[in-house]
Structure formats: structure tokens, C-alpha cells
């Protein structure tokens, strides 16, 4: 299915929390809009992520069996939100879907998708340690790539690099 058809299908299923569709657009000189290239996203409410994933996996026409990726992005230091990006793939129907959710930096809490896709486990652990997102209901919320005693969330744009680690100078 094409992207538009997937969105229509999601809307027809009354998927909860769909905010809008973020599609690439051409630059517009009049409004000084620089445009956006790349791929389209479905913008969703972070709280309804799990419901939408459930829908995407179980609906026969969508049937996204594979969770490719869950990650976050910190667009700028002064931005109030983190972006949560989810990439889904349907092996049967050979289509993809990308979801994007804006998560306030003040309270970065998200329900965990591990119950739907076990693939989410490690992605969420990585996302949690790198961006400080808390995944509620994650069965094993330890650090995965960083040491257990690491302070801070390195992929945040406002992260300050430590000057020493366990007595080893990093300067």
C-alpha cells in the first residue's frame, strides 16, 4: 500500500491519537518556507503510540509484523519536544510506515511497546539511556550501551560532556 492508502486505512479504523500527516513539501519562496524533502510521517499523540502499534500489527490490510526501529531525536536545544520516531514494516504487504510523536522534554514518559513487539526492548533501552525517555512498563530498563553508572543522556543536544570518568580525565 502507498502511504496515503495506509493513512486512509488508519483513519477508517478510527486509530486514536492521529494528529496530522507530515508530508514532504516543495520550498515556497513567498512564505519563505524552505520546504521539506524526504519521507512522509504520521504524527501521533505519544500516549496513543501503543494503541496504534497494536492496530498496525493486527489489522489485516496493514499487517506490520516487523518493528524496524524506535528511536528519538532532539531537534534543537531550545525545542520543547523530543521526537519519537517509529518505523514499521509489513513483510506480507511490502509497505512501510513511519510514525512520529512529539514528546515534551519536561516529562518524557512513554508507554512501552515491548508487549506488542519484543524488538522494541533493546531499541527502547537505547532510546532511554541516550535521550532520557522513560518507557513505562519496560521489563528490563537497564542501560544497554552505556555503563550502568553513566550520568546524563548523551544524545540530548544540551548534554555536557563529562570532564572525568572514574578518575580518568577526558579533557
Amino acid at each position: 500500500m502507498e502511504f496515503q492508502a495506509i493513512v486512509d486505512r488508519l483513519r477508517a479504523l478510527n486509530a486514536p491519537g492521529i494528529v496530522e500527516v507530515d508530508e514532504p513539501r516543495a520550498p515556497d519562496k513567498e512564505t519563505k518556507d524552505k520546504g521539506r524533502s524526504g519521507r512522509p510521517f504520521v504524527m501521533i499523540e505519544p500516549a496513543s503510540l501503543v494503541d496504534i502499534l497494536h492496530l498496525c500489527r493486527d489489522d489485516e490490510r496493514l499487517q506490520m509484523e516487523v518493528l524496524i526501529d524506535i528511536t528519538a531525536s532532539d531537534p534543537a536545544v531550545d525545542d520543547a519536544n523530543l521526537w519519537i520516531l517509529v518505523e514499521l514494516l509489513s513483510v506480507k504487504h511490502r509497505h512501510r510506515l513511519a510514525l512520529k510523536a512529539l514528546l515534551p522534554k519536561a516529562n518524557p514518559v512513554l508507554p512501552s511497546a515491548t508487549a506488542i513487539y519484543r524488538a522494541a526492548q533493546w531499541h527502547e533501552r537505547e532510546c532511554a539511556e541516550m535521550y532520557g525517555v522513560t518507557f513505562e512498563g519496560h521489563p528490563d530498563p537497564r542501560n544497554i550501551l552505556l555503563p550502568d553508572d553513566w550520568v546524563g543522556h548523551p544524545m540530548r543536544k544540551d548534554y555536557e560532556f563529562p570532564t572525568e570518568y572514574h578518575g580518568i580525565s577526558c579533557e
Binding site: R39, E87, A119, M130, K157
Partner: protein, 406 residues
């Protein structure tokens, strides 16, 4: 799996340690005859973990009752670096995560960046050279997988045979780009330079020789009775489990799922090549045991080498002279946008999510590493196998630790 200690119940419960006085006045001891489980660190310095990965094993004799992979020993902050260097400067870093298939990593990153640059046209010759390099690199990577899996099972010699042919591939890469392992050859907009004179001919020669040698590999290990005994019915990944864990690439095809990004979500010229009927997608069918066992995954990798040879041959036939790089400035400025491109790496889907705000540096450069995702399945596969089987299972996931940790 949350905690190894909680999850596992010992096979023999310890008896009480109290002593009691028998009527005769003798003291009777209740000896503690429990066989306590052994917690053992496989790695970070262990020959079978293919790098610096650690698996915490809980064993009852030879039986593995729990496994917990610990990563991060090779974490080099690739994604953070991506947010701090220019677009083209990041390219050499892509070589470093899956260092066994650096061409494919270059390709994945280049395609992702190119997807944000709609005006950029990639010359056809560049696309074909990219395809040839990517497929040759896929063969080189599969040869390592073949050789090291042999090592894991205990056969030394296939490793050296595999390296013999890989050496030739590396020599070919050295001729075209000067590097043997980390190429940075496939650039944003095309490839760095044209193939030197006679290079394409030598690639053709390599294909001829490799087809003969491949038969040798197949007989030596794939059909070897002892090898089959060691790998069949071990580490079975069912189709549902493969979906659940988000497996891709040979791991998914080993479970009998007919899915290959080159055919099903074609990028570059793979659609044309598929339509020409050049290659097939080898699948695990449970020929020796159960579908989705270690042998099936290994078999898929070995068969894919031959399919790659066919693709290379096709590209050699249709390649024509022409430019090899599109109109790309020295300092690349990528228009604002967000893109995700997943390509079929030798280990699965290598995805790059790139986000540009129109500047010289990426806002976000996410790498979806196939080894990282494929490795998660160990936690489920290893408990209940023997120690030797767990080594076979790690080997059959064919991870590159540089990629799991990035």
C-alpha cells in the same frame, strides 16, 4: 527476561542444612547435595563472541539455563559524531560500524542523504559500480560468516579457504579505491572515482573462479555430516518469533520468510536486475532439520554468495562508459528534510534516518543496525541448549560487534 536470578529455578533444590540428633545419640547431617548453577562470563575476551561482546551465561553442567547479552564494549558514539561533522565527513564513520561490509554501509548512508536531495541525479554507471561493489562486499562478508562459523563449530580449514577468496575481493577494492577494509568509496551522489582500466574484466575473472571455489566450500562444510549434526535443530527461530524480534536479512530468510529488500522494496537498480530474472532469494526450508535452525541460516548465507555473483555478472554486462558522480559540491548542503532509507546489508536491514535543517551538519543521524536487532534473539534462543550449541547460535546470528555497539 528481567533478571537471571529470578527467572531460573535450580534443577535440584537445596536441602536444609540443619543437623539433628538421632535416637542413638549420633548426629545426622543433611548434606547439601544441590548442584548450584554456574554463572559464567562468555566474553568480552572469548573467541566465539566475534569481538568484544559479553554474554552472561547461567549453566547447569553443560546445559545453558539462562543467557544475557551485555553490549557496549565497542561503543564509539557514531550517532553523536553524525550530529557534529559535515555530511561527507561522516562517511568514513559509516565504514566503521559494520567493518566487514563497509561498502554497503557507505551505500546505505549515501542513499539516505540522497533521498533528501531530490534534484541530485545519480549517473547510471555510478549506480552499476555501486551495485558491483556492494555485491562483492556482500560476498566478502558472507565468506567471513562462512569461515568464522566453521571456526565456531571447530573446523579450522574452511576459514582459510574463505580468506583466500576474500583476499582477492579486497585486492579488487584496493585497486578501485585504495583501501582494503574501510573504503569510503560510495559517496553522496555517486562513487569516488571510476574503475581503473581492466578492473571490470578482473571482476569477471573473479566471478569465474569463485563459482568453482564455491562448490568446494559447499562440500567442505555445508554438507559435512558432522557439521550438519552440530547445526541442525539448534537455535530454531520460527516465523512468528522472527517477526516479533524484528529480524531482517538472512536471519529472517533462514526462517523461511521470503523477503528481501532488494526485491521487495527495490533501491538503486535492483528492480531492473530482478525483472531481468538474474537472481533468486534463497530461503531456509528446513532441509536438514527444522525450518529456522542454525543450518538454515548458514545455508542462506552461503547460497547468497552465488546470487551476488549473478548480480555482479549482470552489472558487468550492462555497464557502459559515463560519469560516475552526480553534480555534488565540495561542501554538501542538504535541503531540510527527514528521510529513512533501509537497504539490504549482508546482516539485515541497515537503516539510516537522517534529519537535515538545511545546513552542513545533520540534526540527527540514526543508524538502525541489523546486528543490534538480530542479537536480541539470543536471550530467547540460548536457554535450554548445550554450551557448544550456544556458541553455534551466536555464530549463526553472524553479528559484527562494531555494529551492535556503533
Amino acid at each position: 527476561m528481567t533478571d537471571l536470578k529470578q527467572q531460573h529455578t535450580p534443577s535440584i533444590q537445596p536441602s536444609s542444612e540443619e543437623e539433628r540428633i538421632l535416637p542413638s545419640g549420633e548426629r545426622e547431617f543433611f548434606f547439601d547435595v544441590s548442584t548450584s548453577d554456574l554463572e559464567i562470563n562468555m566474553g568480552p575476551q572469548h573467541p566465539a563472541t566475534h569481538g568484544v561482546m559479553r554474554v552472561l551465561l547461567r549453566t547447569d553442567g553443560e546445559l545453558v539455563t539462562g543467557a544475557q547479552p551485555h553490549l557496549g564494549y565497542l561503543h564509539r558514539c557514531a550517532e553523536k559524531i553524525g550530529e557534529n561533522v559535515e555530511w561527507l565527513q561522516y562517511l568514513p564513520y559509516t565504514d566503521r560500524y559494520d567493518y566487514l561490509s563497509a561498502m554497503n554501509n557507505n551505500l546505505g548512508y549515501s542513499l539516505a542523504v540522497e533521498s533528501l536531495m531530490p534534484e541530485l541525479e545519480i549517473p547510471r554507471r555510478a549506480t552499476l559500480i555501486r551495485t558491483i561493489c556492494a555485491e562483492l562486499n556482500r560476498i566478502a562478508s558472507a565468506l567471513i560468516a562462512y569461515g568464522t562459523y566453521g571456526l565456531d563449530i571447530g573446523a579450522f580449514t574452511p576459514f582459510f579457504y574463505a580468506f583466500r577468496e576474500r583476499e582477492w575481493i579486497q585486492a579488487l577494492f584496493e585497486k578501485i579505491c585504495g583501501a582494503r577494509l574501510t573504503y569510503s568509496f560510495i559517496r553522496i551522489g555517486g562513487v569516488f572515482n571510476d574503475a581503473p582500466p581492466g578492473w571490470l574484466k578482473e571482476v569477471g575473472m573473479f566471478c569465474d573462479v569463485f563459482e568453482e571455489k564455491w562448490r568446494e566450500y559447499y562440500d567442505l562444510l555445508v554438507e559435512n555430516h558432522l557439521f550438519v549434526m552440530r547445526t541442525k535443530d539448534i537455535g530454531i527461530i520460527s516465523e512468528e518469533m522472527a517477526y516479533d524480534f524484528g529480524l531482517t536479512g538472512p536471519m529472517l530468510r533462514g526462517s523461511g520468510v521470503d523477503f528481501d529488500l532488494r526485491r521487495d522494496m527495490p533501491y538503486m537498480d535492483y528492480k531492473e536486475i530482478w525483472d531481468a530474472g538474474v537472481y533468486q532469494i534463497p530461503l531456509g526450508r528446513g532441509e536438514k532439520g527444522t525450518t529456522g535452525d542454525c543450518w538454515d541460516r548458514f545455508y542462506v548465507r552461503v547460497q547468497e554468495m552465488m546470487e551476488s555473483i549473478k548480480i555482479v555478472r549482470y552489472c558487468l554486462e550492462v555497464i557502459e562508459a559515463g560519469p560516475v558522480i552526480g553534480d555534488v559540491p565540495k561542501v554538501i548542503k542538504v535541503p531540510p528534510g527527514e528521510g529513512y532509507v533501509g537497504i539490504e546489508n549482508p546482516r539485515g536491514e541497515l537503516g539510516h534516518y537522517v534529519h537535515s535543517d538545511g545546513g552542513k551538519i545533520a540534526v540527527r543521524c540514526r543508524v538502525r543496525a541489523p546486528s543490534f536487532v538480530n542479537l536480541a534473539v539470543l536471550e530467547d534462543l540460548m536457554p535450554g541448549t548445550l554450551l557448544a550449541d550456544s556458541v553455534a547460535i551466536i555464530g549463526s546470528t553472524d553479528i559484527v560487534v562494531g555494529e551492535t555497539d556503533r
